[in-house]
Amino acid sequence: MSTPPTHWTSRFLLAFALLGTLLHGVPAPGSEPVDFAKDVVPLLQKHCLACHNDQVRDGDFSLSRPSDLVDLGYVDTTDPDSSHLLELVTPIDGTAEMPKDGAPLSSGERAVLRSWIAAGAEWDASIRLEPAVAADLDWWSLRPIASPGIPSPGISANGAEHPVDSFLDRQLRQQGLIANAQAEPRVLIRRLTYDLTGLPPTPDQWKQFRRESRQDFDTAWRRLVDRLLATPAFGEKWGQHWLDVARYAETHGYDKDKPRPNAWPYRDYVIDSLNTDKPYAQFVREQVAGDALPNTAPQAIAALGFLAAGPWDFIGHQEVGEGKLDGRIAKHLDRDEMISAVFNVFQSTTIQCAQCHHHKFDPIRMQDYYRLHAVFAAVDRADRVYRGVSRQQRQEQAALESQINRLEQRQRAIADPIDRQIADQTSQIDHRIAELKEVFGATQQPQFGYHSQISQTAAAPKWVQIDLGQARNVREIRLVPAFDPFGGIGAGFGFPVRYRVQASNDAEFGDSVRTLVDATDRDQPNPLTRPVHVVNDGSPFRFVRVTATKLRERTDDYIFALGEIEVIGDDGSNLASRRNVTAKDSIESGPRWGRDNLVDGIFYRELTDDRAMAELRELQRQRVAIESDLRSPEVIEQLESIRAEIRDLRKQLQAFPPGDVVYAVATQFEPSGAFVPTEGAPREIHLLHRGDLRSPGDLMTPGAPPLWNTANERFFDSQDWQERDARKRLADYLVQKDNPLVWRSITNRLWQWTFGQPLVATPNDFGRGGERPTHPELLDYLSARLRDDPNQSLKSIVRLLVTSRAYRRSSEHQPASAAIDQQNTLLWRANRRRLTAEEFRDSLLAISGALDRRRGGPSFRDFVIEKPEHSPHYEYHLHDPRDPKSYRRTVYRFVVRSQPQPMLTTLDCADPSISVPRRDESTTALQALTTWNHRFVATMAERFAEHLRRTAPDSAADQVNLACRLAWGFPPDPMQRDVLLHHLQAYGLASFSRVLFNTNDFVFVD
């Protein structure tokens, strides 16, 4: 924005910010004269200004000022009905031309416009209109966190009142609800163990708890809670909750969906942080700016895996690149993805709405959104070292990498314009060449020719020779270059740079050697597909030898290759045909390469017709002329020397220890294709009108939305800022004590992960588009408690929640309570829930005695990758369900985006391409098919059967009892036992186990 807002503008801003959020009535037309400010401005703001203002001038038309309206003839005060403005907004067949993507104006609104035009369309030129911004902070989530007093206890069960219960009970009392009594101990231990660890309680754990609880239930309960919170399984279970919102996966997604083999350190970071009960502010800061904090620990760099956890468009970044619009779109979407993640996850704010216009409901302007783009303007998603390389080494590495980066940029700067010029000038030639090949082209046979061993240096002479059987008169010798169509190597593959051709009657070329051609004193151009003719005007000979004295370069080494050698006799016949070939060395890899291929009469011919061939030669000559004209020897030399420099630098890089790497955000990494690091130099970020890269507006510097009064809106005063500092400022912004969102956001999640339903039903959106809290004071009480706890301990909040009476209620249905609160919003009962996908799988492994409890490290794969070289296909059905390597907890599985694990997906596991704050709990026929027929379930049934047979060998009744204790947490009642025992006896233990794994008693937690 260039002009400072006028008095009027700011008044309108404020006034219409409020109007924008409330539905305002439209004055009845005709009743009183239309007032521009009161009647017309609001409807222009509502329908038009988002796209037609001084910044966003869609259709080159702005309604910020009256000038366009008048100058472009949109209003006709003499004949209002024929005003273009009215035509545009008047619907025909229910569709009006304007507003383009919105509801048409009501007839009342059109009447207001009409009256205003008829009255002269008066508009005080000093009034400038801006699109409406919701600017007020008067919304529950944006108000400071209150410190509500704990309500006085009501009817206390056992004297000591619990703050959580005090808040909950008050609302229950107000609604006349009677809460359920405490559930049975066996129900409670199962509930708690699943909620805190994601695993079923073991019979031993149950025995210990039962023993202790007989003496003092509350003490026993607290001790159980402490034991469970202290097991590593807590982090594994709660880590999964976090990974759901963090949209964590181990492949890129999009096209090709390549694996990210180094994503897992972030997963371990999350699990470790929860297990060690890291202070929440630190947990947040590390995930946004772990590399910019003082005394950065290796783990804090792994934390940056958060920003990189979402999908990444390999093609857009690596193949297209920022040189093209599509590549810049990919970068834009990439930053948008990061920003959305930060704000959805930590702030429960839907920042992404402000990409094309100011946020419709919340006080977030486009400027705020693009300031956040500036925060992430220098980072990309890539592997980076987090451990095992010293700081000094890292710096040296970085210096080398940046040299390489600069050299490659120089290379492109030199080569690209020349390539383009060449392409421009040769397009017609190429077209004709293509035509000739189309008509006369020959298909290549696979017998390419002779190929020497590979050499590391160019100056390692190699030779190949032909024995003509006896001394013959020879007219000429033709050396046909090899042609290798693979990998774009093409014509002239391995043709020597310097060489000689000699004749002799001595197979050893010891004496009587005659040199027919000596091209060893200078480099020879590559003849490509053109045979080299060597004329013989001397005496007969038996042996002919070609010696390469300087080999041609392949990618990183050197070889000598030829397609065919023809030795033409006096009568024009080929004397070399099928003769014996010897060589200094050779790679014999049939059918393509071998000594005999040199004399087999099979070699690459471009065209089958001689005249066409002549034309082709001429065209090729012209093409070469154009090329050498545009690509001077100096340029070639320059490029070659750059290449040599890069090779040398890469060698130096290889000397460093590899270190441990994590897939995270980075500014320094090895360039690959068009994907090059910024080295910390931020990309220019502009405000984009309607989110379109083709309409850039003002240049933006880092900042964040002023969602509370003391929020830091602009991070730097000058244009000169460091990338890391920007992310560090954002981290500081997030964990500011005044930030009302961050504490409420995590508290709400902790509540949800404990009670199965959040206090705010939209955990990623606390804005006006989301839901309001069911227990605002309770939420604030807990949020303040977490914020003000010196350890900001998440576990202490969880401990507080699970020690409440509310958590321990039975899940039993009560018609009277349900009549008042069907949804159980006020928690009069516990929420029965289904096992999550991970819990289902982990439980099968655990109760079958198959679970591998090793923690951390690279993920196990329960699929086989096919076609890894291009776009990997993740084939789950090829994986052997008996492979014990896959028997680890599900949180350690390799998470694929494009092809999610079918069994877990059917069981509602999170879609890793989006932040999933709440999972579905669906019940479908496909689920039944999966849990009944899946190979993994069947395999576990066999394992479980084996386990039962070993542990309870004596009787089927024992086996049924044990099985139910393991799977359900309690023994069967007589009716259940009858059914199960009957099936076991008739169909065996494995079939019995399969049934048990599908029972509601197993898959639901009461």
Partner: protein, 488 residues
Amino acid sequence: MQHTMSQSPITGSRRQLLSTLTGSFAALALGDLFARDGVLSGQLHHRPRAKRVVQLFMAGAASHIDTFDHKPYLRQQDGKPWDPGEQVELFQSTPGACFASPWEFRPHGQSAKMLSDIVAPLGDVVDQLAFVHNMVGKTGVHSQGTLLQTTGFNFPGFPSAGSWVSYALGSENENLPAFVVLPDHRGLASNGAKNWAPAFLPADHQGTVIRPGNDPPIADLLRPSNEFVTAESDRAGLAALGQLNQMHADQRRGDDRLAARVRSYELAAAMQLSATDALDVTSEPRHIKDLYGLAADGTTIEDSGVINERAETEYFGRKCLVARRLLERGVRFVQVWSGNDNGFPRRNWDSHGDVKRDHAPLALGMSRGASALIKDLAQRGMLDDTLILWTTEFGRMPCSQGSKGRDHNPFVFTNWLCGGGIKGGTYGQSDHWGFRPLDRSQETTVHDIYATILHLLGIDHTRLSVRHNGIDRRLTDVHGHVLHSMIA
């Protein structure tokens, strides 16, 4: 005639099927099962013209100017430098010379619509097709282009059109999924399962992948091959499970999910039968198989090497036939793919290297199957309320890449629609190159196409929305206009 499993009596052949089925929920599959409702069931926004949709998706980007969008000017300019009057940034290459289609175009039907020889099989039905030659995309990147056409957004996280339709209308047959995906036999297209994911819609609106000819065609449809599982133990196990789960539910009144879970096993049983029946094309009479171009020895068609016409015809035709059988049985939305993701050798429509080599077999196979599907639906009276959409991620350039290929063209491409209230004709033109829309102020987007499709299904696209992360999300984003002129 509509024919669903649940309404017909168990016939002899089905009994036979029951006994031979390896998995046997069969004993539980009793009684009529009622349709699942969608959020708009019984309260559509207006009278629908269509009830179901088939989306034919050409993965890799099919060339409009080699198939449906005839460009005589390009023929005149063939081989000459291409100058569209603006700087053109291509995906892989720098623009080569003008490159006329290697195929002849000939007039077809009453309308004398010009079709390339490689889509000539669609000539018989061309008068019923509504061509949109001024489609525009957002980028020339496959993954984004594919997502844009399948979900309305060019980045992941949004429900597929099929999921939206399933969510809105539900299923007409509870024994089959409402949304079925028939992937290319070679594998999945760019983005894989994201193209039929429900994203933030409930999980049961996910497209169910069916691979006709595979064993099993639906994941976990049949009982596992472990030794301990026999037809008898399977049946008895389900019976025992039903009893146990019923007891569990009875002890816990007031929780619908528990009863629903009991029922889900019954539905699974019904699905086992319905799906097996729906996919069994062997029962089709010979003239129908001939119509779709299916060989007698269909399953042994050689397709390990380069793309070939016989395999394309066979595989695509079979999918079209299966699609018809599914539609007949009440499936709401069928997504049929031709081509999978990129690879070597080429296995989709992404003809950078050689349009002639790849497009001819792909287009001939596709157009035979598509043409057969249209005729078959028509002869069963189903074309009137079945909508067909032919689409792809973007078009291809009028200039050459290398000498025989074409690079991506997100600036213009072609869609066609058919059936379900659509009026044949040509709506929207590209310029004389086939490079951009003829009238750049009049372009058509995927949002317009979906607005129209939803409209024909009785849905106002602006009113089918779900709040997700604070935004009321729609299939048509904040865009989309119903193409009224195309509606009969």
